[in-house]
């Protein structure tokens, strides 16, 4: 029972971090151009 007191908040916290990362990425336009992003990694910056 004691372990739950740590594990459940830990699971929630990890999930929340993931959600925050997703929302951040979304607001920064990371999902606006899936095709371009797929190709971009193939090239160096120069």
């Amino acid at each position: 029972m004691d372990s739950l007191m740590i594990l459940v908040p830990a699971a929630l916290l990890l999930g929340l971090i993931g959600l925050a990362a997703f929302l951040w990425a979304l607001s920064r336009g990371q999902f606006d151009d899936p095709e371009g992003a797929a190709g971009r990694i193939l090239f160096d910056d120069d």
């Binding site: 459940v8 959600l19 997703f22 929302l23 120069d46």
Partner: protein, 783 residues
């Protein structure tokens, strides 16, 4: 940098050398096909970006074309000397092009930001300096072989993008909540054998509530809004049972948690929302991509005119800012932005957008001209008589929109199912509630739990996924065949088609003259060199036939007659002083050189590749075929004969075409109209389903359900076949989803559906319809 890098990988080595930039065959050992390609290569090479050519995938770079638009008026002033410009870039095919444009613009120290979006073909540009630099940036992109067009997102699209983003955000929240609640729920379910204490279970239920309730309130908004909007109008839609089911599940579960009961349905409510949001998002994405494509074509039509000010100076003015009485200076090659009267000049106009006529019309002072015509010979001064919404072009577009109203009455199958389904669900839930209370003798709260289980189990989760998933797979598959779907219900209507009506010019044929006579190389090169400076369709055909010809300088264009340079003349029979004319009815050009016999170039419109095979395929599919053309009898008959079409009609006016289609509709015939001209547009709108080539007039593409790219007609057959398959899959999926839901209803009514059973039923039925839909993507046309 070697030439070999330019060859497509799969192709065997060719003997003929090709242009280093665009890859068309060149003559002798020259490196480039034209001056444009040579300078594009020079720009790229000088910037040290030559590896672009190695990065190109299957695509080739494009041959540069001159720009006609003034971009100054489209630059936005962001203050403190920073300007922003949004461009739509045509010819952006792969990531290498993205890299090239971004890298090249970034070399310019004044450029603050250059970001290309490959999915939407848009370039966002910010620079420090002056507004005039907009033209430099656009010209640089154009010099590489891309076609930039100014872009302003229409209000509706901005709104739409906001909604798509909201859907995605809701999906993220719902996904997070669903995963965490499910984690807790699995623990609760596995503790039902008694291994979990009552206090722990209640704690877990409270935790689930704490996660699920805010998440449902947030992620459910798209559904709640749509349901409320429908109820206000006195209707129901699929979102009503969804909203009621989810809200009720939350409330009942809260009550159950409060009284330390065994089951709570928080996981069902949030997982349901998650799945539904996926379906909704897919649906929107499939439609969104087609919309961007049409928008790209429309953006190319916005442009700038040059207006003479009082001082006699030509100033750029956007089409939408032209006013009555303005005098436009229309250079050769420019498109008219408004209706007007010619006040000075003598030229020829390409009227193909308005009338579908492929040969140009003469224009002299006093002639009335309308927006959308292209000046192809000499400069004209035109006094504006009507602009913007009052032009003839805008009027035709309005006519089409009016004709389209009739089609909007069509209700998609999924919508019909939803309309019938919602009341049944609500009645069943209500009946089990009342039944258990009155006949079963349960308390109201117990009966409500049963009713909630009924609502959850019947909640159209698989039903909501069934259609969008198939649509997404189908439109992705169609895009591979070069077909863009513009109307969401197009596939369903296409599947019902049993009669196909074709237009001739531009639809069965390519709609442009092609050189048909065989000419010796020297004469052809000389003629094409002259023709390079003209925009006349026949001159363009000559240049297409000899792309390697060098443009001759000092060409004088005699409007309506021909071209002349250094004593060499290219033009009409009379202009070249030829005595006899040929007997056939082909369009022709003559080349007259001092001391040599005149040479005749004959041109004809050609059938699209695979026209014959496509018609045979359609007949095999059981469709009847008709040819309906506005062209002359003599031009239509040979085409009909060659393609084996028995039912054909010539000299049909736009009104007659539309009336003919309306008549067919009254007879109960489901017609697919395939056409390209603005004169076909009313007929396209009147047909059960419609299709037009991507070369069609913009307004015509607007009226069509789908647009096919490329010269080949094979896309028509593909489209009809995929439509049939899609329709079959949609019906299968709907049947599967309904069967699954209905099978679970008796269990739910009997009060035997626990949250665990609901979760299993929901997931398996959703996976089933998705897997079924994916079968379509594997379909290939039999060779």
């Amino acid at each position: 940098m070697s030439d070999v890098a330019l060859l497509p990988r799969a192709a065997p080595a060719r003997e003929r050398p090709i242009c280093r930039h665009c890859g068309v065959p060149v003559i002798g050992d020259e490196a480039f096909c034209c001056a444009g390609c040579a300078s594009a290569y020079a720009i790229i090479d000088a910037a040290g970006l030559g590896s672009f050519y190695r990065k190109l995938e299957a695509f080739r770079a494009h041959r540069p074309e001159a720009l006609e638009t003034d971009f100054r008026g489209f630059a936005r002033d962001l203050g403190s000397g920073v300007f922003a410009l949004d461009l739509l870039v045509e010819g952006l095919d792969c990531a290498a092009c993205v890299w090239l444009i971004e890298s090249l613009l970034a070399r310019n120290p004044s450029v603050r930001q250059a970001r290309v979006n490959l999915s939407t073909r848009r370039l966002a540009l910010k620079w420090q300096g002056r507004a005039e630099q907009a033209n430099d940036h656009a010209a640089l992109i154009a010099a590489l072989g891309f076609v930039p067009a100014p872009y302003r997102a229409p209000e509706a699209l901005v709104q739409d993008e906001r909604e798509t983003r909201e859907l995605l955000r809701s999906m993220g929240v719902a996904g997070f909540a669903a995963a965490n609640v499910m984690l807790l729920s699995v623990a609760v379910w596995s503790g039902h054998d008694g291994s979990m204490g009552e206090a722990t279970r209640t704690l877990f239920h409270w935790l689930s509530a704490a996660i699920a309730l805010p998440a449902v309130a947030y992620a459910g908004r798209p559904f709640f809004r749509s349901a409320i909007a429908a109820l206000r109008r006195g209707r129901t839609n699929m979102d009503v049972p969804i909203s009621v089911g989810v809200a009720l599940a939350c409330l009942v579960s809260l009550h159950e948690t409060w009284i330390d009961a065994e089951h709570a349905y928080f996981d069902s409510a949030i997982t349901l929302l998650f799945f539904l949001l996926i379906g909704r998002y897919l649906d929107r994405r499939a439609r969104g991509r087609a919309r961007y494509a049409v928008q790209a074509m429309l953006a190319l039509s916005t442009g700038t005119a040059h207006v003479l000010s009082q001082g006699g100076v030509a100033e750029p003015r956007r089409f939408d800012q032209l006013a009555e009485g303005d005098v436009m200076l229309v250079a050769a090659g420019e498109r008219l932005g408004a209706d007007g009267t010619v006040v000075e000049g003598r030229s020829a106009l390409d009227t193909s957008l308005i009338s579908g006529e492929s040969l140009p019309q003469a224009a002299v002072a006093g002639d009335k001209v309308v927006a959308g015509m292209v000046n192809i010979a000499a400069p004209l001064r035109v006094r504006v008589t009507a602009s913007g919404e009052r032009t003839v072009l805008a009027e035709i577009v309005r006519l089409i929109e009016a004709a389209e109203q009739g089609r909007s009455r069509f209700v998609a199958l999924a919508e019909r199912v939803a309309r019938a389904y919602a009341p049944v669900v609500h009645l069943t839930a209500l009946a089990s509630f009342v039944g258990w209370m009155v006949l079963g003798g349960l308390g109201w709260d117990r009966a409500l739990v049963v009713a909630t289980a009924v609502l959850i189990v019947t909640c159209p989760c698989a039903l909501a996924l069934a259609v969008p998933v198939v649509q997404v797979v189908a439109s992705t598959r169609l895009m591979k065949s070069g077909v863009l779907l513009l109307s969401p219900s197009a596939l369903e209507r296409l599947a019902a088609v049993d009669h196909v009506v074709f237009d001739k010019t531009g639809t069965l044929t390519l709609g442009r003259p092609e050189l048909v006579s065989s000419i010796d190389d020297e004469a052809l090169l000389q003629a094409a060199g002259l023709a390079a400076s003209s925009r006349h369709p026949l001159a363009k055909a000559l240049v297409r036939a000899a792309p390697r010809a060098r443009a001759v300088s000092g060409v004088i264009e005699h409007p309506g007659q021909g071209l002349e340079a250094n004593g060499v003349r290219l033009g009409s029979v009379r202009f070249c002083g030829v005595a006899k004319s040929s007997s056939d009815e082909l369009s022709e050009l003559w080349l007259a050189r001092p001391g040599r016999a005149p040479v005749r170039f004959a041109f004809a419109d050609r059938l699209r590749p695979e026209a014959r095979a496509t018609l045979d395929r359609l007949r095999l599919m059981g469709k009847t075929i008709e040819l309906l053309s506005g062209d002359r009898f003599a031009a239509v008959a040979p085409v009909a004969r060659e393609l084996g079409i028995d039912m054909w009609r010539a000299c049909a006016t736009p009104a007659e075409k539309a009336e003919h289609l309306a008549q067919l509709a009254r007879q109960g015939v489901r017609v697919l109209m395939v056409g390209d001209g603005l004169n076909d547009a009313p007929a396209l709108a009147a047909a059960h389903a419609s299709l037009s080539p991507a070369t069609a007039a913009e307004a015509t593409q607007h009226a069509a359900d789908a647009v096919f790219q490329g010269d080949s007609l094979a896309a028509v057959g593909d489209l009809l076949e995929i439509a049939l398959r899609t329709d079959r899959l949609v019906r299968q999926n709907l049947a599967l989803a309904l069967a699954y839901n209905l099978a679970a209803v008796p269990l739910a009514v009997a009060g035997m559906v626990t949250p665990l059973i609901a979760a299993v039923a929901m997931s398996t039925s959703s996976i089933l319809v998705i897997v079924n839909a994916l079968r379509l993507g594997a379909w290939r046309r039999d060779a």
